[in-house]
Structures are given as structure tokens and as C-alpha cells.
């Protein structure tokens, strides 16, 4: 009984210390950067009629090249703080669902990407990469998941040759990174305080970067305006 109590106390102590350490680190070293990406140009979303696998793909589909939301916010842009270590270690997942890549842009740390096929029909994952080995692998209906290695930072176009409209991007980005939502906003958490380079990339509108002064425990806002090509 006494032994159990001692162990319990020790666990509480260790856990408490760890918690204190964790909060103090984030309080002292980390802040949030709220990146807002705007685009003044027209949206470019292609609507296409689908003529095969309609029971899985539907009869119509949209190809998201440039998605502009409320207040001219640009969706599907990747914001990143390359200097910020300690990003989420969770494995990134790219799904093929309804004959679309979900999400349209997936962000991952250099490492492994999990590719799912939720459609119960054949897809093939065809990447157009230069830094990483290019992949063209079949994923038949019975192969629900597969894992691919993407070790080098790169923005990789992904297509499926069976369904020519399918278009997706894998952003292999070191540091803290996130994709902008429909209003063009992405939150980068746990960015170390001090001067940090923030980069924004979009599949058709290119790249921009800015330097911001991140304050620990606070939200720093930075705004980008992408220019049409």
C-alpha cells in the first residue's frame, strides 16, 4: 500500500514537472503566426463533366486551380515558417475520395506520407517530382492505404491517369507549415520568438516570403498579397 502511494506520488511529480516544462517552453519560446493570403485576381475553378466511374466520381467535378473565398482570401496556399522546428510529428494523409485528392493540398514534414484510397476503384498515384523520386504506383480498390517516402523539401504535383481531372499537391516543407482555409488564413503554431522567415506558396501563383517578429505567447499577424502570373 505504502509502496503504491510512493509510486503514485512520484508519477504525479514527474508528470507535473513535465507539464510545467512544456507550458513554460511554449510560453517562453513559441508564438502563433496568423498568415493571411489575399489574391485580387479571378478564381479559376474548372467544372467538368465526368463520363466514367460515375457511381464513385459523380457526374460532375471541379478542379481547384485558384480558389478565392470571402474578402479575397486565397485558399489552398501553403504558409510555412521554415526556421521553426518541432512541428507536429503526425503522419500526413492524402486521401483519394470521390475521385478527388482530399485535401487538395497536403502539407507534410520530410518523411512519410500515407495515401488512402476510399473509392473502391483503381487509382494510380502519379507524382511529378524532381528532388524526390517520382512515383507512379497503382492503388487498386483492395489496397486501402500505402505509404510513400518524400524526404526532400519540394512541392509535388500529384495526378491520377485513370481519372485525368484529378489534381493534388503534396507540400513537403520543413518547419511549421499549414494550408490556408477558404478565407485565406493559416495558423502557424509554436513558432519560436524572434525574427522568423514566413513563406507562402501557391500552385499557380508562385512563392512569396516575409520576415516577421514573433512574440512569445502572442498572435502575430502577417498578410500576403499574391500577384497573378
Amino acid at each position: 500500500m505504502r509502496k503504491a502511494l510512493t509510486i503514485g506520488t512520484m508519477i504525479t511529480f514527474v508528470a507535473g514537472t513535465a507539464l510545467w516544462l512544456a507550458t513554460s517552453v511554449s510560453a517562453q519560446g513559441g508564438g502563433t503566426v496568423e498568415v493571411e493570403v489575399k489574391y485580387n485576381g479571378p478564381a479559376k475553378v474548372d467544372k467538368l463533366k465526368v463520363n466514367k466511374d460515375t457511381e464513385k466520381c459523380g457526374t460532375e467535378t471541379v478542379v481547384e486551380h485558384v480558389v478565392v473565398g470571402g474578402n479575397k482570401g486565397l485558399a489552398n496556399a501553403v504558409a510555412s515558417a521554415p526556421g521553426a522546428k518541432g512541428a507536429s510529428k503526425a503522419k500526413a494523409v492524402l486521401d483519394q475520395h470521390g475521385c478527388k485528392f482530399v485535401p487538395h493540398v497536403v502539407v507534410m514534414q520530410p518523411g512519410e506520407l500515407e495515401i488512402k484510397n476510399s473509392d473502391d476503384i483503381l487509382h494510380n498515384l502519379h507524382t511529378y517530382s524532381t528532388a524526390n523520386p517520382s512515383i507512379n504506383k497503382a492503388q487498386p480498390k483492395f489496397k486501402k492505404t500505402m505509404t510513400e517516402k518524400l524526404d526532400k523539401p519540394e512541392f509535388v504535383k500529384v495526378t491520377c491517369d485513370v481519372h485525368s481531372w484529378m489534381l493534388g499537391w503534396v507540400a513537403v516543407v520543413p518547419g511549421v507549415a499549414a494550408v490556408t482555409d477558404k478565407d485565406g488564413v493559416a495558423k502557424l503554431e509554436n513558432v519560436p520568438a524572434g525574427k522568423q522567415k514566413i513563406e507562402v506558396w501557391h500552385e499557380t501563383l508562385g512563392k512569396q516570403e516575409k520576415e516577421v517578429d514573433v512574440k512569445a505567447g502572442a498572435v502575430t499577424k502577417v498578410s500576403f498579397e499574391m500577384k497573378g502570373k
Binding site: N124, F142, D161
Partner: protein, 537 residues
Amino acid sequence: MRPTSAGRRPPIRAHLLRCLVAPSLRRGRATSQSGDSSAPRIWTLLGGLCRSRVVRLIVCAGVAASLSLAADIRAAYAQQGDANAGKVLYERKCAGCHGDKGDGKGAAAELLLPRPRDFTKGLYKIRTTANKTASDQDLFRIISDGMPGTSMPPWAVLPDKERWNLVAYIKTFAADAFKEAPKKLELPKDVSSSEASIKRGKEMFEAIECHKCHGTEGRADGPSRPELKDEWGFPVAPANLAKRWNFRGGSSRTEIATRIANGVLGTPMPAFLDAVEKPEDIWHLTNFIMSLGPDRPAFSTLVTISSTKDAIPDDPNAEAWKKAAASAIPLMGQVIVDPRNFNPVIDLVTIRGLYNDKEVAFHLTWDDPSESKGDGKQTFPDAIALQFPPKIIAGTERPYFLMGDANEAVYLLRWEQGKGVAESSANGPTKIAPIQGGEASGKAVYANGQYRLVIKRPMAAQGDARPTFQPAQFTPVAIQAWDGGSGETGTKMSLTSWYYLRLEEPQSNRRFVIPPVVAILTLAAMFLVVRAANRAR
């Protein structure tokens, strides 16, 4: 190594290449290493030495082992080509299509489909490696054997050393891509072909949805076919799996299994090694694909039309047609008059025929990846025509094979999608006049990438423009075909030169009567002779 044959490539492609870059094309086998030829002699010599004593065997085995090691070293040495020497040769033999910079933009590139390889990316379709770096041996093999069904001819005419020099030079266009060492692809354990294996292969073919591009029966007519593009953005056609003599990377079992496992780099064909249920399914798929068509077509030189006493069926799928003799005839692109057809789709038509005392019927089978009625802009109606002289006379005099000329007309029996069969008289490919009072009819069916068509006509004909068919007469015939779905129309067609067609004589029942009668009479005569001889004794 795979044997090569003259039937592998439409001759016109080779001809085009010859005009452009003027190699003397000789088909031959590619030898993998220059040291190979001397090796057998060494083994014979060793065998002779070793035969005498058991003790010597051990010594000989040692010598043999070191000799084979030496052969390996020699092979490795042979692979070290001289890039500078290769450059000179490349500019003479290869640049016409592949471009001086190796970017696949040579003078002829515009006309070729598939396009010549762009070497600057270091991406190679046909490789035996597990990673994307092709091995030197892979490059050497394609240079030596060429790529069937494309404009890349086999260059076995060049000495081994020069081909290795070309390998070395081609690699310099994408030096970075070759920094990673090639890793050999390990195929699963071979499963030999059997009924059960082919059945399993078919199941897997359906489960992994090969038909999406290659079609249900493998004739390249899958629903995704029209949109397929390679990594350069050029249209690329899926392979017709029933015509494996056209497979770019060869048609042996190992080559087919390697393509399935590895994919075809730079094209939509993905790697399936990790995408089948069990690794050995790669071999079941291979065995199934091998079952879809012959190794290579047995081309005919004479078209035989069989006689029948029955009515001739209109239905192209009728049982009677399956029994009729089939003649496979190769077609090539029309490249004599503009606009020319450098990349013909229809390269083979199979003809069967039946006739009775009233009518003659021709049954044509050919692969076409799409049934096209045509939009009149980019696509046109699919069509096929049989060409005959208007009057069949003995001898070798025939009208000009390309639809006749101003002096001599030809008679055309032409079927067109949506219109049916019509008769016409032509004095050249652009001077075609319909013949009034149609006597011909026809019925076509299209299924799974293949047309089957029956064209019927009375044996005897009215007027001077139509020939009358007669049994046992050598009748000149030529074929023209259009894949309207690929934009073929007018002079953009596939064609043949003149062939001969012969209506078999009707076979009378006398052949069943006369031989037995002769046999009985002979026997009787022999019997009489023997008896007479016995009596005389």
C-alpha cells in the same frame, strides 16, 4: 534475347527513318557483351581437357571459375563506352529524331508518335531496375533491338562497341539522373502458364482494373484511353495487349512481367508490384496477357474465299465465319500523297470469305480503339475499303495500287460507319465517283475495340465499273482502312499494295468416289496379276 523478325514494325516507319537519318537497317540479335562469342570455344576446350581424369576436374573447375570471372570483368569493361566517340555517332545517327541536345526535338520529331525520347530528363520507359535509374544494359538493349510499334529501329547493325559508346553519350544528357546507381528489380518467383494461372490472371486483371486503359479484352479501348498523356504532355496510347509483337519493351514473359511490376516510366502505366494481392499475381497476369493473342501474326500472301452451298450469313458473329479460312494482312500508313499518315492506327486486317453460286461475301476483322461516327472536325467516321480492278484479267497488269490513276480506274467496296456499304469507281485517292445502282450490302458490329464486318455482293456484276468474280481465278485485291476516331480521313489512311484473292473451286463429291474406285480397280488388277503368275508356275 528475343528473336527479331521483319513483321515487327510497319515497314513504312522504317522507311521514313531511313529517309531521315539514312542508317542501313538490318534486323538482328543484340549480343549483350562483346566477350560472349569467344566464351563457348573456351568451354569446349576446357571440356576436352577435363574429360580425362577425375582429379583434374577440381583443377579445371578452378580454371573455369576464374575464366568466367574474367568474362564478367570483360563484360563490365565493355559497358564503359566512350562518350566522346558516342557523340560523333549520335550526331550522325540519332540527332535526326532525338535532337542535337538530346531533348527529343529533332527535325523528324513532329511527325512521330510516340515522340522520340527526351534524354535530358533521364527517364526511360523500359528498364529492369527497381528505381528510376535505367541500367546501361537497359539502354544498350533498346538501342540494339529498337522499340516495336514505334519509329525507333534496331541498331544491331552497329558494332557492340559503338552502341556502348552511344549509351555513354546518351547518359551525359542527364548526368544527375544517373548519379543514383541502378538497383535490379527482383521479380517474384516465376509461375508457369496453366489454365488455372490464366484464370487467376483474368481475375486479377479485372480486380486491378487494367481494362480502364487496356480495355476488357485488352485491345487498348478502355474508357481512360482518350485522355492519357505522358509526362511531356503528349498523347500516349495504351498497349493493345492482344498484339504483343508491338510491345515496346519486348514480348517475352519476363519482359511483360517486368513492365507490369515496374510500370512504364514517364507514361500513365503505373507499377503494380505492390498493388496485386499476392506477388505471384504478376506472373498470373503475365500468363493471362500471353493468352490474349498470338506471339506474332501469321501473315498471309493469298486470301482464300471458301465455297459454300448454304446461304451466306449477314451476321459477322455467325458460326459459319469462325470456320472459314482466315488471312491476316498487314497494313501501313499512306505516305505517298499529302496529307500523309505517318502513324497509322490500323496495322492488321483479317479477311475471311464465302461464296455460293449467287453471291460473294467478305468478312473483315480489325482492331480500332474507338467506334467513331466523327464530329467532322477532329474525328471522322471509321471506314474500310476493298479494292479490285474493274475487270479481272489474267497476268500481272493491275491499276496503280493507290486507288488507281487517270488511265486506269479501280473498283472500291467501301464500308463507312453510319453509312454502310457503297460501291465506287476511283481514278486516284481524290477522284472517287459512286457507282449508280448499288449491288452491295453490309453489316458491321463493334465490340471491345474490334470491328467485324460482312460485305456482300452478287458474283456477277452489271456494267464495266464492277468486276465479276469467278472461282479459281487469281483476283487482285487491296485494302484501305481509316480510324476516324484518331483523325484519319481521305488520304490519311492505312493501306496495302495489291494482294491476290482466290475463290476456291467448289469441291464436288467426285473426290470421295474416284479414289476408292481407283483403289479397288488397282487391287483387282494386282490380284489378277498374282493369280496369273501362280497359275503359270
